[in-house]
Amino acid sequence: MSSCCTPPTDTPTARGTMTVALAGNPNCGKTTLFNALTGLRQKVANYPGVTVEKKTGRCKLPRGKRADVIDLPGTYSLISRSPDEQVAMEVLRGLRKDSPPPDVVVVVVDASNLQRNLYLVSQLIELGKPMVVALNMIDIAQRRGLNVSAEKLQKELGVPVIPVVGHKRRGIAELKQAILDATVAPTPDWPLPEAMREELLLVGGGLAILDSDEQGSEFGVQGSAKSEDASGIRRLRLRGSADADRPGLPQRARLDTYKAIAERLLIGDRAADLQRIAAQEPVATLLSNASGRLQTLGIDPMQADVEAHYLWIEGVAQKVLDPGAPTTDDNRILSYAPARTLTERVDAIFIHKFWGLLIFAAIMGLLFVTLFWLAKPIMDGIQDGIKALGLWTTSHIADGPLKDLLNDGIFNGVGAVVVFVPQIALLFLFLAVLEDTGYLARAAFLMDRLLSKVGLHGKSFIPLLSSFACAIPGIMATRTIENRRERLATILVAPFMSCSARLPVYTLLIGTFFVSYGPLRQAGIMLACYALGIVAAAGTAFIFKRTLTKGPATSFILELPTYKLPQISQVARQVWINTKAFLTKAGTVIFCLSVILWAMAYYPRLPETRIQSIRQQVELSQARDRIDVSNSGKPDPMAYSRIPLVQKLDAEREQRVAAAQAEYSLSGRLGHLMEPAIRPLGYDWKIGIGLVSAFAAREVFVSSMGIVYSVGEVEEGKTADLASAMRSDRYTSGPRAGQPVWTPLVAVSLLVWFVLAMQCMSTFAIVRRETNGWRWPIFMLVYMNALAYVVALAVYQIGSRIV
């Protein structure tokens, strides 16, 4: 408990570096202000144990002082229960071990949305910390005919109020000065019902007596927990007001501190510092008696508290607005803005029943095209570049394991990570623009109905759409979903969307085994694959809603903020921060898994004797072919040209060696090992190898089939050799000896597998990063693959009985 053990000499000014927490509602311009305060000296990390981002930065203050600024998650309240808000509350109250308790709280207030922003301010006042108000968006308020006076607000609140314009850096110097001059706001006399005041006095007095008894060890708790429990109120009291214990302090001020604790307890605030006290006797009885008495009077303490705060706010708002403002008419609260605002006029089109959907479709279309096609050449370029770089760096190294490790392991692994950067950067470019302009909330508004039916959120749309290009940026985009359960559900179903890496597999299988179907029906099969993914996503999300992510009705409370022009610097920063986070957090896992997969396909090496014997065998059969050609009866002038070139013979030999090596390697053995399990699905060990290798990325399935079938490197669009090799492959032994390995049914079963299975290490890595643990990626791996197995099994088994 650092807050109470801090020696008095260690004051902010004495240390030279103080801790400043930046609090505010969502959409109040807090992040812009944070950037203006801290510039580029920022760090982004995660709060341990939760998936909430922790942003901190350094800021130079006047008089040679410095401050560590914590940018808290946007929050409407200090009591509500979303993880974001809980983190914000815990940091502010100094309840998190990973964050020092703030010395000063800077609260950003959106002047154009004064009342609701002041609600958070009213709660922060009760915190009893030195505070500064940064009054933002005065210009927007002015355009609506609202002149918010900073001086008057300062007088009302009793703390410095500084007008700021974050992106123009206006008011920043003044704000920095004010941080040094911050004062503790006097607690207003909330206009609570009289009965509630009495109860607060009663409970507060009770707490005071219990607290003084505790020194005489009379506090009614048994056992070893006693001392810790007993000091609970004391600690809290100290935190509430640092001076509470100073000798000579009027009795009345002490009682106020206890009353403040009583108020939090009575309104149901169960923050970590209160849980123990609230559950403990006789406090619990004291509380339930008080609530019971209030209930008989028809008073709900929580509601009375919020209403009292808003009553106070309404009074303050009336005083700080210029007399010209229309605050006294019949709609005193509703109509701050007499004329239709620009935002309202834009929304009349942007969320119009017809035009709104059309614009939405156009924007989403652009997003999809960007991710799906625009990013592709850049991604290919990056991969080729890294490959070339690898070959260039290793050109002086002799052929052997080291060279292969560098090229196929290390450089390939780096490529596997960096290849995602274009898509991620482009997606976050889009997201930042959409979020900063305020359109993201509109998109969620438009789509929510569609997605809420299966337990998702309007904001799930963009992540799911992006997942059709690739699940990695898609899952990263779920960060815009505030509700944790809906975010988790979106993450869990996003990989069902057929990503671009599945496309080469679909093309190979459909092109090879449904030749007779014609292009139209082939396209139909392809569409069916996409549809199956969507159905699976909707179905599992629907089930999750009732099981895994079940809970009280999610409160979809979506603010539709004022439209704003995006700031280029803010957008660039978002892109940079998120790309960097991907490279450092998920990139390392992807790289390691990539090297492991390479090693699995590389080791153990085929013994030299085996390689020789394979080469001899191949040479022998090649020679036999040649004799066949030359002995084909009549002298044939063209016969010579039919003899394959030496290079081609060499290549064929090496392809056979590579195939044997693939079978001999760990993943090859795994393929054999898996065969009994995958045989009911119609797959043989060769497909097993393909499935193992596809974990690197699904499209690798195609190239590893190329190796297994000894047709060498399979280039995009040139799968004819592989296709014919697959079609003519027959079982050589076992009950199915002589039968073809591949039938259209096997292909369908494999298509189903590829649609449904989670077999992408990068997705695994990104889910681990985004959910901050191994639990959900492992769950995802298990449930998706189980589903894929069951459905593919059903398809093959039922299919083979019908056909």
Partner: protein, 92 residues
Amino acid sequence: MKACDFAACNHCGSPETCNLNQLGIGCRGSVLAVGGDIELRRRLLEMGFCNGAHVEVVRRAPLGDPIEFRLRGYHLSLREEQAKYVRIAPSA
């Protein structure tokens, strides 16, 4: 006399009360009470649905849900299943 075009709204100008989700587009009213479980109630109250605040129904999403409201000078949207917990006294 109906001032809106929403079929479920029968309350314009009448002294009766209704739930917020029943209020038609363009209609206004003031908050009487907020129901629902404690978390939802707290959230709605904290967003400003209290003290008789005036609320206006701005529009519904193209698919009918959620509903956009204006109160205390800002816009927010609620799903039907939440809006129904806000009891309203409609005003003309």
